[in-house]
């Protein structure tokens, strides 16, 4: 896998994490299951990439973390969005949608583009 592709994936993971937290604070394990369930098991987030992504977002100030008790009474680290995180999410969603539309246009094309007009 080349780096360009990695970068793309990482960016995607970040926006998914931010989105997952929009409903309220969650710990890491809950974030993976939320993403998995919401995508009908299509997106499986690997633990090996999830946690570094969480810490990176925390380091950037997009997330804040706090220790609390999980539903099964274990000490767990809960993440929640900061104001900056919310802003970032809105921005990323826009970018992602524009990107998806553009890709869809190209992939859904039924004929080659018209030759460019010379100015």
């Amino acid at each position: 896998m080349d780096t360009a592709k990695l970068e793309f994936l990482r960016g995607t993971l970040d926006v998914l994490i931010l989105k997952a937290l929009i409903w309220g604070p969650l710990h890491g394990y809950a974030i993976t299951s939320l993403i998995r369930r919401q995508s009908d098991d299509a997106l499986l987030v690997e633990e090996g990439t999830l946690y570094p992504a969480l810490w990176r977002l925390e380091n950037k100030g997009l997330l804040e973390a706090d220790w609390g008790l999980s539903e099964n009474n274990r000490k767990a680290k809960f993440y929640r969005l900061t104001a900056g995180g919310r802003r970032q999410l809105r921005q990323e969603v826009k970018t992602w949608e524009a990107y998806a539309t553009a890709v869809a246009k190209v992939l859904g094309a039924t004929q080659p583009p018209l030759p460019e007009q010379m100015a």
């Binding site: 710990h27 890491g28 570094p52 990176r56 925390e58 680290k77």
Partner: protein
Amino acid sequence: MSPIPLWRRYDRLLGLDPSADVKDELRFHIESKVDELVGKGWSREDARKEAERQFGNILAVQHVGERIGEHMDRRRRFSDYWADTVRDFRFTLRTLRRDAGFTVIAILILTLAIGANISVFAVVNTLLLRPLPFPDAHQLVRLHRKDLKAGDFSTDAMQSFQQQTKSFQQVTGYFAFSGPDDVKLTGHGQPQPVTGMMVAGNFFPTLGITPVLGRDFTAEETLKNSRPVALLSYPFWKRQYAADASIVGKTIGLDGTQVTVVGVLPDTFDFGAVFAPGTRVDLFTPAILGDMEDWGNTMALVGRLKPGVTLGRAQAEAALIFPKLLMNNKHPENGGKYDATLDGLKDYVSGKLRQSLIVLWCAVGMILLIACVNLSNLLLARAAARAREFAMRTALGAGRTRIVRQLLTESLVLSLSGAVLGLAMAWAVVAWLAHQESIALPLLSSLRIDSASLAWTLLIAVAASLFFGLAPGLRLTSGNLQSVLADNGAGSGQSGRHDRVRSTLAVSEIALACVLLVGAGLLLRSFLHVLDVDLGFEPSRAAAISVSYDDTGGVAKRGVTLQQIIQRIEQIPGVETAGISDELPMSANRTWGIAPKGWDYKKQPFPDTFVYVVTPGYLHAIGMRIVAGRDFTWGDNDKNLGAVIINETVARGMWPGQDAVGKIANVNGSDARVIGVVGDVHETSAETAAGWQMYVSQIAPQPQFGPVGANLVIRTKLPPASLGSAVMTVLREINPQQPANEFKPIQMLVDHASSPRRFFVILVGAFASLGLLLAALGIYGVISYSVTQRTQEIGIRMALGATSSQVQLRIIAKTLRLALIGVFVGAIASFFLSRAIAALLFNTAPTDPVTFAAMVLILGLVALLAGFVPARRASRINPIQALRNN
């Protein structure tokens, strides 16, 4: 700065550990996964294996987590630190405001000390550290002869050297005898005196100066009979022509000649600042070298070295070339035999001041030291009063570093406030100094507070705050907590120790002040000696004015005109006597050769001899003494044999042990009879010994004896300034073209020559007084504090029968003991340190007993006074009240 979330304060208490957090978090994940799998029917063991398999390389993830965690922790610590700093700062402002008296005094002391330091640094930076304001200034070299102030070389010598040198890119020069106000500017009402300077054609290109307007001189304009042209200095262009750019290309009247202005020089170029401290030059004209061959040694030389050529190599080359050069290539018999000393232009300009400036720098540094010791003392006194506050905070868990940090914040705030105010003070001082044209210090006009000065300010402010803040801080936190909390503030061991430290500080202040005072005293005594020097003439009650007259009709007509001027001037009520000389002592001077008639120049040349072309009566008017023979008369105009008056040094040198009067000498290539011998005159300054001097008459028919101007000197019983307008009226009646030159007391020339010394004496004296004041404050503080501390003890003594005078005596004795120790240490230090300024002293031994005694006495008296005030207070203590309090 957002407030720190509450939890962060507690996680620190639990000992936040980023790597443990990472492990906990990952373990939770695995556990949750296991739970989920177990819920789906897996066995716990298999579920764990499966969960770990799914996770992959858990150690690598853990490693990433630790790295990010550490990074965040560092950042958190920094923001906590910053928040603490802000809190310390706010707290400091509150405490300082509460203790306004202390704050004002501390800031005042720091302002004076730091302000003085910045001002002196600005001077040192301008004169010593910063390069001269020319491109590649390090290549510029001044070529001069030993022991000569102005004119060094003839134009022929200059040109020959330029042709032969391989070390210099260019050699140039300026006419060294252009005195102030030597040119008349005509065309606008009254003729106006301006100062012109003749420079060689390549002068500005050599220095790397290009006109901001118009152009430089062309090669043709430096030739004989060429169209006269001039370049204006920037300030003159602004002042005289209101910065009108259209002046370039127009003509202006200079001494009756129409001169075309070809350009204006840049604002950054100040000729006087570099080459003639304390004078301003208004315009520059090209030196027509072809006309100047017979003028003798009139050029001051400056050269630009080729890149990579060292001063030593150039000096070696000059030593080979100069002895072979002739003064006048057409008249080899006039000799030459030059020697040349090369100095970097920068060294030449400020080298002589180096030592004075370093002394000044040290003095001002000492002031800062005294101020720091003083503040240390004040802070200690405050710390003693606040000991309980800090002990309480320590008891509540504040660490030692935390408290020292708080105290350092306080001292930093104090010293930075002092620095800001000091900067304002220095700015004012520097602005004032830069406009002191009467101080003959080079580069003074370019004095300013630049970025280097600002950096220096910051450096000394921070260093000072560390110096005076750290000691009390450490002192305060090293004490025994319990004893401080239990201390009722009087007579305990803790206060006793504070007392000793504070006494030591006060003693060192006195010692430092003593060193300063002795240094200032020695310099002051030297200055008084300089003022006392017998100059060989009488500057008081004499004044001079540059006279202009029509000198086109030959020597005979000149005689008539000058005689008429002098007679008319002498009729003015109050004028005792008057005379004219082309050059005045302690201004520019030029030299000719003199030797007994028939002397072989080539075998043994005599020193270059300063020459003054004077009228009868001049020697009397300026107050010189005729030792033998007579003055000139209006009848001394023998065409075949001239007349010359020599000074005692020349008489001793040429005819040792004989009567010089009546001997025939060869003066500048013409024979002359010695008609008189006069006392030596200090021609350069009171501090330099008199050289060889001679006088010839303004009306001598010998063409070799021409004057270079006319300065009328009058002697009067009245204050010279009161005669100015009467003299000007007479001069205008004789010559309507007489410009409105300044009527200068001769004393001004003498003061100008001694102005650098005066400048240093005033500054060092001011610093010494400041040091004395600070030391007095220091000793007052210590004694006054100890009186407050011992109120109870004194009360008991008085209750037991001690009289108030006994109490006073005890306190004054304590003061004197401190003062004596300080003076003793200071005197010993001065004894050794004063040798360092021996070279700056004049007729004063570095161990001058009178100075030492006087300074010891002054310090003793000041200390006594500082102790007397608290002593009086102590003697008025009411024993009953003192015992009841506390």
